[in-house]
C-alpha cells in the first residue's frame, strides 16, 4: 500500500504545483526577510531618540499570533474594502471597478502571501542579526576604519562576514519555519484561488485532516524530509563554525 500513495501523489498536478509553490514561497520570503532584516538592524544598532518605541513598533508582527496578524491583512487586502485599493484609486493608479483582487488572482495572491509571511518573519530575523552585530567587538570595525576601509567595505568585508554564522542560523531557522508552516496561507487564501497558492504543508493538511485521507496526507508531508535534512546539515555545520556546539 505504501508506494501506491507516493505514486498517486507524484501524478497529482496539485501536488506538483504545491511543491513548486513551497520553494517559491520559502525562497522569496527568506530573501526579502534577509535584506529587510539587515537594513533594519543596521539602523537599529545605533542609539537615537525614540529607539525603544521604534523597536516596539517593529517587533509587533512577530509577537502577535500569526493567525491574528494574517486576519488583519485579510481585511487590508479585502476584495471590496481594501485600504490599499482606496489609496491607489485616489492616486488614480487604478480604476475603481478594476482594482486588483489581492487574494483573488493567482499571481497577486502568491505575492500577497509571500509579503504577509515576510512581514511576520522580519522582526525575528532582525533581532537575531542585531544580536550578531552587538556581539562584534567594537575594536574591529574601528581597526578597519583606521586601516582605511570606508562604510561599505567595513560592512561587506568585515562585519557581515563576521556575522555570517549567526545570519546562517537566522536564515536556516527561517527556511525551516517557512517551509513547514501554512498559517498565513490557510487564513488568507486557503490555498486558493484554484490551488494556486497551495504549499506542501497546507496540501497535507487539507488532504490528510480535512479530506480524511491520512495516508496521502502523510505521503505529501514526507516530501518535506529531504529538504529538511539538507537544511539541518547546513545548520549544524554553520552552528559548529559559530561554536554553538
Amino acid at each position: 500500500m505504501g508506494l501506491k500513495n507516493f505514486t498517486s501523489v507524484l501524478q497529482n498536478p496539485t501536488f506538483l504545483r504545491a511543491l513548486r509553490n513551497s520553494f517559491v514561497f520559502t525562497v522569496a520570503s527568506q530573501i526579502l526577510v534577509l535584506v529587510g532584516a539587515n537594513l533594519l538592524a543596521l539602523v537599529l544598532k545605533n542609539a537615537f531618540p525614540g529607539r525603544r518605541f521604534a523597536r516596539f513598533l517593529i517587533l509587533l508582527p512577530w509577537v502577535a499570533p500569526v493567525s491574528i496578524g494574517s486576519i488583519g491583512w485579510k481585511w487590508i487586502l479585502d476584495s471590496l474594502y481594501s485600504v490599499i485599493n482606496w489609496v491607489l484609486v485616489r492616486l488614480h493608479l487604478v480604476k475603481e471597478f478594476s482594482a486588483p483582487m489581492w487574494l483573488g488572482e493567482p499571481k497577486l495572491a502568491m505575492m500577497s502571501v509571500i509579503l504577509v509571511h515576510t512581514w511576520h518573519m522580519l522582526p525575528f530575523a532582525t533581532v537575531i542579526i542585531l544580536a550578531g552585530w552587538t556581539a562584534i567587538p567594537k575594536d574591529i570595525p574601528e581597526a578597519a576604519a583606521v586601516d582605511g576601509a570606508g562604510f561599505f567595505r567595513r560592512m561587506f568585508q568585515i562585519e557581515l562576514p563576521m556575522m555570517l554564522p549567526i545570519i546562517n542560523v537566522a536564515v536556516l531557522f527561517g527556511v525551516i519555519f517557512t517551509f513547514t508552516d501554512m498559517t498565513v496561507i490557510y487564513i488568507l487564501t486557503r490555498g486558493g484561488p484554484y490551488d494556486t497558492t497551495q504549499v506542501l504543508p497546507s496540501l497535507a493538511f487539507f488532504t490528510g485532516i480535512l479530506g480524511s485521507d491520512l495516508a496521502e496526507g502523510a505521503a505529501i508531508s514526507i516530501f518535506l524530509v529531504p529538504l529538511l535534512v539538507a537544511v539541518a546539515w547546513l545548520m549544524l555545520r554553520s552552528a559548529h563554525r559559530a561554536e554553538v556546539v
Binding site: 529587510g36 533594519l40 543596521l42 539602523v43 545605533n46 521604534a54 516596539f56 513598533l57 517593529i58 517587533l59 509587533l60 508582527p61 509577537v63 502577535a64 499570533p65 500569526v66 493567525s67 491574528i68 496578524g69 486576519i71 488583519g72 491583512w73 481585511w75 487590508i76 471590496l80 474594502y81 485600504v83 522580519l122 522582526p123 533581532v127 544580536a131 552587538t134 556581539a135 554564522p165 549567526i166 542560523v169 525551516i176 517551509f179 508552516d181 501554512m182 498559517t183 490557510y186 487564513i187 506542501l200 504543508p201 490528510g208 485532516i209 491520512l214 502523510a218 508531508s221 518535506l224 524530509v225 529538511l228 545548520m235 549544524l236 552552528a239 559559530a242 561554536e243 554553538v244 556546539v245
Partner: protein, 282 residues
C-alpha cells in the same frame, strides 16, 4: 570638511527613511485594527469615506459584541492557561536536561545535544498525523490538553539546546567553589547556576509562551469545539460566520490578543537578545 557633513547628512536621511518605511509597513496592520475596531459599521463599508479617519462617531459596539456574544474571553483564558502549563512542563524537563548535558564531559554531551536539537527540526506538518493518533489514544481529542501534551515536544528540545549554551558559559569552578564552601551539587545548581542563567531561563519562558500563543495547526487539528479553542484559532475561525466577516469585532479581537504580549516582550527584549546571543554565539 564638507565631505564629513555631507556624509552625515546622507546617513541621517538613510537612517530615518529606512526607519519610517519599515515602521509603517510593520505596524500599519495594528493601526488598522485599532481604527477598524471603533468604527461604526456604516462608516466601514462606505467607499466614499476616507478610511484612515473616523467619519462617524467612534463606537464600542464591536467590542461589546466580541465580549458578550462570542467566546473570546474564554479563548484568551484557554491560551494563557495552556501557555503557562507548557512553560512549566518545559522548564521542569529542559533545565535539568540541559544542565546534565552541559556538564557531561567528553564528546557525548555535545552529540546528545545535537541529537536533541535535531528533533526540533522535525516539522509540525510531518507530525500532526501521527500525533493525532496519540492524542486519540490518550483520549484527549477536543480538549485543551491535546495541545498542552503536544507543544512540549517542540519546546523542550529547543529550550534544552538554548540552555546548554548558557550553562556551558558558566565556569564549573563556580560550582566547585560552592561545593568546597559546603553546598551540595544540587544546592549549588539551585543557588548559583539558576540565578546566573536567569536571562536564559527567561528566554525559554518567552519563547515557549509565544510558541503556544502562535500555535495554529495543532489547535486547528485537535480541537473542534469552540469553547476549548485557543485565541489564535478561535478568532480567525469562529468569528467568521460562513462568508460574513465581522471586521469590527475581528479587528478588536486581534488587537486585544496581540498587544499584551507585545508590551511584555518589549519589557524583556534586551534580556531576550542577551539570552539568544549567549546561547548561539558563544
Amino acid at each position: 570638511m564638507a565631505g564629513v557633513r555631507a556624509r552625515q547628512l546622507a546617513f541621517r536621511t538613510f537612517h530615518w527613511t529606512v526607519l519610517a518605511v519599515f515602521s509603517v509597513l510593520l505596524a500599519f496592520p495594528f493601526y488598522w485594527m485599532l481604527i477598524t475596531s471603533f468604527k461604526r459599521t456604516g462608516d466601514l463599508y462606505d467607499l466614499r469615506n476616507n478610511p484612515f479617519v473616523f467619519n462617524q462617531k467612534p463606537t464600542l459596539e464591536h467590542l461589546r459584541l466580541l465580549v458578550n456574544e462570542t467566546l473570546f474571553l474564554r479563548w484568551l483564558g484557554n491560551t494563557a492557561f495552556a501557555g503557562l502549563v507548557v512553560v512549566a512542563i518545559t522548564l521542569l524537563l529542559a533545565v535539568p536536561a540541559a544542565y546534565a548535558l552541559a556538564r557531561l564531559t567528553g564528546r557525548w554531551g555535545g552529540r546528545i545535544g545535537i541529537a536533541i536539537f535535531l528533533t526540533y527540526l522535525v516539522p509540525p506538518t510531518l507530525l500532526f498525523i501521527p500525533l493525532s493518533r496519540i492524542v486519540a489514544w490518550l483520549n484527549l481529542q477536543d480538549t485543551l490538553w491535546a495541545v498542552i501534551v503536544v507543544y512540549p515536544s517542540f519546546t523542550i528540545p529547543f529550550s534544552t539546546w538554548l540552555l546548554m549554551g548558557f550553562f556551558k558559559s558558566i565556569p564549573p569552578e563556580l560550582e566547585d567553589a560552592a561545593m568546597v564552601d559546603g553546598l551540595t551539587r544540587f544546592q549549588a545548581f539551585l543557588k548559583l547556576v539558576i540565578p546566573i542563567s536567569l536571562s536564559g531561563i527567561l528566554t525559554v519562558v518567552i519563547f515557549t509562551f509565544t510558541l503556544v500563543t502562535q500555535g495554529f495547526v495543532y489547535a486547528l487539528t485537535f480541537i473542534s469545539s469552540a469553547s476549548h479553542q485557543t485565541v489564535g484559532v478561535g478568532v480567525p475561525i469562529y468569528l467568521v460566520r460562513g462568508d460574513v466577516y465581522y471586521w469590527g469585532s475581528l479587528m478588536a479581537a486581534c488587537l486585544i490578543a496581540s498587544l499584551p504580549i507585545a508590551v511584555l516582550y518589549n519589557l524583556f527584549l534586551d534580556r531576550f537578545i542577551a539570552g539568544f546571543t549567549v546561547g548561539s554565539v558563544k
